[in-house]
């Protein structure tokens, strides 16, 4: 069973600092064009299929904007 990863991006907490984008080894993430409620360009999923759940983005996020669910595909 391929393990499936679901990244949850809390866009309204994101301040567009770009650390997650910088540390993602597979360029899964990017910063959106539009602004969020805080007036920042929030993180967005660019290529979710490339994500294998290494968690570096979540480790480097200073605003608890990224959480990750990982496990056996149901």
């Amino acid at each position: 069973m391929a393990s499936r990863v679901v990244l949850h991006l809390e866009r309204e907490r994101c301040k567009g600092c770009g650390l997650c984008v910088a540390f993602c080894p597979r360029e899964v993430l990017g910063l959106a064009q539009e602004l969020n409620g805080l007036g920042y360009h929030p993180v967005e999923m660019r290529a979710g299929e490339r994500c294998h759940g290494c968690g570096r983005c979540a480790l480097m996020c200073p605003d608890l904007a990224i959480s990750m669910a990982k496990g056996e595909a149901v």
Binding site: V6, G18, F23, G55, P62, D63, A69
Partner: protein, 245 residues
Amino acid sequence: MSSTFAPPEALTKVPFHYCPGCTHGIIHRLVGEAIDRLSIRERTIGVASVGCSVLAYNYFNVDMQQAAHGRAPAVATGIKRVLPDRVVFTYQGDGDLASIGLAELVHAAARGERITVIFVNNANYGMTGGQMAPTTLLGQITTTTPSGRAVKEAGYPLRVVEMLATLEGPVYLARVSVHDPANVIRARRAIIKAFEVQLQDLGFALVEVLSICPTNWGKKPVEALSWLKEHMLPVFPLGEFRAVS
């Protein structure tokens, strides 16, 4: 689906006020994860200091006290002496801990107070807009060292962990950093240990966490992390300077 990464229960849901990319947020999360890991949330009391993290009492989902600038180790001492079976930690910046509060820190450490000190070193006074701190590097420009910190006027940076390592009271002293994922994991491990020695009633513990200040350093967050790696690590070497075998 087993969730492998979620906000710790020991942090509230209140969004951080910190600047974009400020790694206070990461360090808050690590402290929250440590408290969750050790399942001590309901008997932990935190002491917030004065600086960018002065609002930490909004973020740590534990009983909190707000201390006067520099006095968190004394406030924590008062709490711990009265409630020896509770877990007490302070969360302090470099101006609070290494400048105005140095005497309180050194004596709490020398007494071996059973408290855990989380010391965030971002080489300047963040909240007040980027003045020199005791940990500001030689040559580093701040609003109070406009042409760079010069030895003749402002002396040398303080290496707090090494200083405390000359005392018997501390049982765990480490300096860690959060400038990349591997270091974030190591920082979490050190913070957990700093709480564990308190639970084992062994003595004083402090973890110095090198952190960035994009706004006052005038750098993008990613650049600030490399500046930390390139300039701060040589002056503030990482490692465990005192640990229980």
